[in-house]
Subunit: 268 residues, 2 copies
């Protein structure tokens, strides 16, 4: 393990960690920040993204031996005292575990779905612009074994620090990719034999009656406006039955119910 003590917050070796919150807003040149023990462990164990370095609070190091051993032996692990770490990050880092990952070249959604197995469950997100919701949907996608998450251009970034944290690292595990034109993408999934279901409060069929097929795509839209009408017209629409007078469900909660439902046939 390549442990490197850091005493100076301005040390150029930890420049990638400077003012983390500000950097969230302006991007970080092909990198992302992973935070916390579980997320660090997933970053190093899934291998889906390369890890560049870690920055660890000195008194957290002992508890991270197993996770850090999953990295190559020359992987730089910067170690700092609390005060130094807070000055690097620009706020109080009570968890004391950070790492930098490399985004790599994102494959288009079409390439990702072409490579899926014959039995596949994918989630398609349209206009999900809230990092809590994106993170929570990834967590549910991982929990119910979804093979990929596909995002339109108006979704927010699953590798935003908060989205990764809310996903409990699932954003580093479940493959995802973006698509440009929804009409073209629907046609691609259709050609690949996917049954395509959209969750909508006005869906034609109660989700309890929707049957799983070998290849299935689940579309989720924004809470407010939902999926565009022209898109709904091309998909099977399913609804989640709710109580009268309060038929309001968070999109992440809706994804949990729908993914749990569609993971049934898979398990059986």
């Amino acid at each position: 393990m390549n442990l490197i003590p850091i005493d100076d917050p301005q040390d150029p070796r930890v420049a990638a960690y400077l003012d983390i919150r500000e950097r969230d807003l302006v991007g970080r040149h092909g990198r992302f920040v992973a935070e916390g023990k579980v997320v660090l462990d997933l970053l190093l164990s899934t291998g889906r993204f390369a890890a560049e370095s870690a920055l660890i609070l000195e008194n957290r190091l002992a508890g991270l031996q197993a996770a850090l051993r999953k990295a190559p032996s020359d992987f730089p692990v910067y170690v700092a005292a609390g005060e130094v770490m807070d000055r690097i990050a620009g706020f109080h880092m009570h968890r004391g575990i950070l790492a930098i990952g490399i985004r790599g070249d994102p494959a288009p959604a079409e390439v990702l779905v072409e490579a899926l197995p014959q039995h596949a469950l994918v989630v398609v997100l349209v206009g999900i612009s809230n990092h809590d919701n994106i993170g929570a949907i990834f967590r549910n996608a991982a929990a119910f074994g979804a093979d990929a998450v596909l995002l339109d251009q108006t979704c927010c970034d699953p590798l935003y620090r908060k989205a990764i944290r809310v996903s409990v690292g699932a954003a580093l595990k479940v493959p995802f990719a973006s698509f440009d034109d929804s009409g073209t993408f629907i046609a691609t999934l259709d050609r690949l034999g996917f049954s395509q279901f959209a969750l909508s409060p006005r869906g034609n069929v109660d989700i309890r009656a929707a049957e799983r097929s070998a290849r299935l795509a689940l579309y989720l839209g924004t809470e407010g406006e939902g999926l565009p009408t022209d898109m709904l017209a091309q998909l099977h629409t399913v609804r989640i039955g709710m109580a009268e007078g309060f038929d309001s469900l968070n999109v992440a909660a809706a994804s949990a119910i729908a993914l749990h439902h569609f993971s049934k046939a898979r398990a059986g």
Copy 2:
């Protein structure tokens, strides 16, 4: 409608709205803050809590006529310009819709459950100390028609500003109450004929196989430690089947799946 212009942030009539964020931490003498259009509407229409006043940004007033008409005609609606409102609240109130509600005397959980109908679904929360989770669980409870939420002493306050907001007002609609001793409360629900189910990752039965009874209680514990072992021993335990390698579900997502499941028989 009793519209009262406010020009001075120190006006004693809006003292209840001063430094809202700080007040969240120290309590507010039997009052709570409701925020946003949907929440204000629920506060005034459900009547579960008395409303004391509203503080509205002047340019939001036109869009709130229907909601405010649900209040008594002498209900004070304080109206302020943006700068004045921000100085009252202590931060930028971009939504511009606040109201003060009165908690009233909370009934003990035992009294609430004694009064439930013969066909009833209740949620019992143990150690849910995160306001996002409490709010999201209340939203799901309302969406699936739960009759009450019962909380142990270690749960956080459903009337905390953020919890109400995340619940989209459901915390002002679904009756809730606290209980002291879980053993006594389990015995009460048992005496009242409730089937009692606890969600647990190591539950004995897959939730898909759990049957709804006329009176049903669903127990949810903290994400980390889950429900105490001695409590699990007194309940039917159910699990939500997940993918191998990432069997992690947020407690609010779990509540959505479980409530959707148990609301089935109710609908049928």
